[in-house]
Symmetry: C2
Subunit: 541 residues, 2 copies
């Protein structure tokens, strides 16, 4: 599609809708929030009702599709996203300030995610089929025939995320996994990139039409206010919600969903500070390299990742006494990191709101007694380009332990270095942590053996522990877990990245005493789909 | 232990505690709620704090135990429960009015549940291990080594249920699955059977001591008021809650947990009406047999099962016009069922509160315009024995569809028969259903093929669908799902019966770039535990 065909309307099933009176514009953050055309119209509750009526009607038809049919639909979406060509990346770049190379990579990831779920459907074992056959001779009561598989739950509300306008937005991992499981999806587009949302939604709708999917399997509602989002979450037809964004936003949706007459789960991924622990041997062996890696990870994408390392906890080597920069331990890394950050170029943030929140967060940190600025980008950020400059702060372990708010996420290119002297202090910091998405530990083999206790504590605090790497860059694969205890997410059992993300939008159904011909194919004795199943205590095909 | 050693105290780690001022007594419902000795003392918030301090301290020690060690602990609990001998069944009988044979069967089930989870731990694959190996040569960015398994979440609060004083109480499925996963458990005993709770808790504590488990791995708090339960659910150290009971009770705990600063999941199983659909061919072929099966299922355990069939929806054969009892369709079953229920003996309910709630529920149903009594036990229930008498009500489909409250659970031996004439009416009833634990369909092969649409609707409303059977009797096995959409439970993805019940008390942790020797054994390359794992897209050992 060419850009001039953007309509600014919501896409509800096969209809274009623009009944709302309230309008909003996308802006180009790299051009001082200059407005972009066209005008977007905020969805009304009546439009949302229509999207759910269609989704409800589509559900029985869509869930009855074969796995192959749903897989082909996901692949068709991927094809349509590629067929859009340069327009998608161009518009996304204008709306987010993200560079084209990053957005092209993100499109590749989005396409790969859709294809990954198509592959998961074709393989088929994800339904977690379990069969316990009857034993009529059992005493005192005969054993019935009991079988179980996962089924879809119904219409899912997906909120687009601002920081991944493709991979965590309209056709991102949440939509892909919800559609894969067999659920219709109602997307609330993020107001910072409505044109990108519309282009993506049209690609999904073209794929739905080409693959003969029922109307209502997908709808896009546009909106800049909070009201329409809460309205969707409280809608009687909604069965689950997926959200990636701020703690405040995610918690508001969680509260709205939990207080419904019929509560529904909200799978909110709300970011975290992602602490990085630096152990003495690693600092000694490759402190400069770690500093360079940290600088890159902190400033990557102007720090706008859920997994951005906002906290670095370093231990001086035994016997190191110096408190200033330049000693043999964490001070050395801090000095190097500060220098690299000082030389870093300011970058355009996604929108003025995020830039202002970053500035306020840094201001709050800097103003905390015991916290000082160790390094800051020397180039001034250009407000006309919605820029932010990277900063490194530092504090001592005592100040940090006394002020839990210092471990809260500041979304953007900043990090706080906490200086420790002993393994016990590192453990105290770890023990004081709230839930985070990730923790990272840099250590030599000796370091890691010595700090086994630290690793054990971290395992109770986070969803992913990286050794000798960096938390940014979340591999999309079966073994990934992108989640963690609250406040990282609202439900630590679930992930928003990787194949197991599909579990959020499923529930088990048990079939007792069913005749073979009525059982779903996943549970029939002859296993026509050839999937892995637990049958009478044994796993097999 | 002999019964005179009951202390009436809470058991917090290895300490016996009785600081509370408020006291309560168990009563024997079969003896007119005659009080039983000893006096039980309600736990205080300070005692609860102590239980959580111990549980928090026990968690790192207990979670580090090998699977074999936890399995042996569960088996030791089973042994201790058996070693208690007749005292347990005797006290449970006095406190609940349930017959000895039923309680002995329930103890067998409880012991088998503990052993089932021990077996699950030894087999080991439940940790859902996934391995995606590194590919340093991948472009544009190298692929990291990513591995994932399930870990325990931390202290779990378990509420004992009144209707299963053994299998869903202190050492029931919730406790067994939480302990199996590696979590300390704090039980809030049900006030209707505190002596049974104390005997059971002492058995668990003896097993813990014999197996060298850390103090605080298990505590029992006694209490009759709601305050202590809510206090436990809102406690900062609690990580999840398991509850079986009423909708009102479950929802109150869910609301308390959801509004915490750090919300935690409440897995509440809150019962349901468990609709049974009778199709024309089945009625014609074996209407009398179905009526007998229904009578048995409705009156089993004085109707005090979550899966009690409180709703029977029957279809007259095509062409059957008669509206009264005695025609060829559902009327025939209704007549037979009414006769059987009229001849049924009243039974002692668990306590006066349940008996009164049953009476109020029946009163409400009977008073609804369009609902009539089709049959009632002719023998009068004896109030001095806390008895209730079974009752069959009937109504037409129009009345039923206009009054959604008629599909709400009435806990006890009652059922409402809804008379339909067409498959479309059956489907309308099914479509109007809220979430239920189960639905049942009786039909011939032809019936079932003709009513495929009904089965498809039921699959979106319930957690288990029984064909040509009865919902009471929940098989404890890998394929069981004892759950369902709200209001049957607070989270439809999870079950409280069967091996997958363990998932409620786990969360995934992802290990990225870890050296082999630090990885947990489940994720090491050479698979020392020999468990099933997904590695690089393939399932194997």
């Amino acid at each position: 599609m060419s850009l001039e065909t953007l309509t600014g309307k919501s896409l509800i099933g096969r209809q274009e809708c623009a009944e709302g009176r309230r309008t909003f514009l996308a802006v180009n953050p790299a051009a001082g929030s200059a407005p972009l055309q066209p005008v977007f119209r905020e969805s009304t509750p009546q439009e949302a009702d229509r999207a759910f009526v269609l989704a409800d009607a589509a559900f029985p038809v869509y869930r009855a599709q074969s796995a192959e049919s749903r897989a082909a639909f996901l692949e068709a979406i991927a094809e349509e996203l590629l067929a859009v060509g340069a327009d998608l990346v161009q518009r996304a770049g204008e709306e987010t300030g993200l560079p084209a190379a990053r957005l092209e990579g993100e499109r590749t990831r989005t396409v790969n995610q859709l294809r990954m779920f198509a592959g998961l459907l074709r393989e088929g074992s994800w339904v977690d089929a379990r069969i316990d056959r009857a034993d009529p001779a059992r005493t005192p009561i005969p054993k019935p025939d009991v079988r179980r598989r996962l089924v879809p739950i119904g219409p899912v509300v997906v909120f687009g995320a601002s920081n991944f306008p493709l991979a965590f937005s309209v056709a991102g991992g949440d939509t892909a996994s919800a559609l894969a499981a067999g659920n219709p999806v109602v997307v609330k587009g993020h107001p910072a990139h409505p044109g990108t949302s519309e282009i993506t939604a049209r690609a999904i709708l073209r794929a739905a039409e080409k693959r003969g999917m029922p109307e209502g399997v997908f709808s896009l509602l546009q909106g800049a206010g909070k009201e329409i989002g809460v309205y969707l979450v409280r809608h009687a037809a909604a069965r689950a919600v997926a959200f990636t964004g701020s703690l405040r936003g995610g918690r508001a949706l969680f509260d709205a969903a939990s207080s419904r007459p019929h509560p529904i789960p909200v799978y909110a991924e709300m970011g975290s500070a992602n602490p990085v622990f630096l152990l003495p041997g690693a600092i000694r062996e490759r402190g400069d390299e770690i500093a360079a890696g940290l600088c890159q990870s902190v400033t990557l994408g102007v720090g706008q990742f859920c997994t951005n390392p906002g906290l670095v906890v370093g231990r001086d080597a035994d016997g190191a006494q110096g408190a200033g920069a330049g000693d043999s331990g964490i001070g050395k890394v801090l000095e190097k990191l500060s220098g690299l950050v000082a030389a870093s170029a300011p970058g355009t943030m996604l929108h003025a709101g995020i830039r202002d929140a970053f500035a306020a967060g840094v201001h709050r940190m800097r103003g905390t007694a015991g916290v000082s600025v160790a390094g800051a980008a020397s180039a001034q950020p250009d407000p006309a380009k919605t820029q932010a400059a990277a900063i490194v702060l530092s504090t001592d372990v005592r100040t940090f332990l006394e002020r839990p708010e210092l471990s809260e996420e500041v979304f953007g290119p900043s990090t706080l270095v906490v200086r420790c002297k002993t393994a016990a202090e590192l453990e105290a910091v770890a023990r004081g942590l709230d839930g985070h998405l990730t923790a990272t530990v840099h250590g030599t083999p000796d370091d890691l053996r010595e700090h086994r206790g630290l690793l054990e504590i971290l395992e109770t605090r986070v969803g992913r522990i990286i050794v000798n790497g960096y938390p940014t860059g979340v591999e999309v694969c079966a073994a990934m877990h992108h989640g963690g205890p609250y406040p990282a997410t609202t439900h630590s059992h679930f992930t928003s990245v990787g194949t197991t993300a599909i579990l959020r939008f499923t529930r088990p159904v048990c079939y007792q005493g069913w005749p073979q011909d009525l059982l779903p194919p996943e549970l029939q004795d002859d296993n026509p789909l050839g999937i892995w199943r637990w049958a009478d205590g044994k796993l097999g095909k």
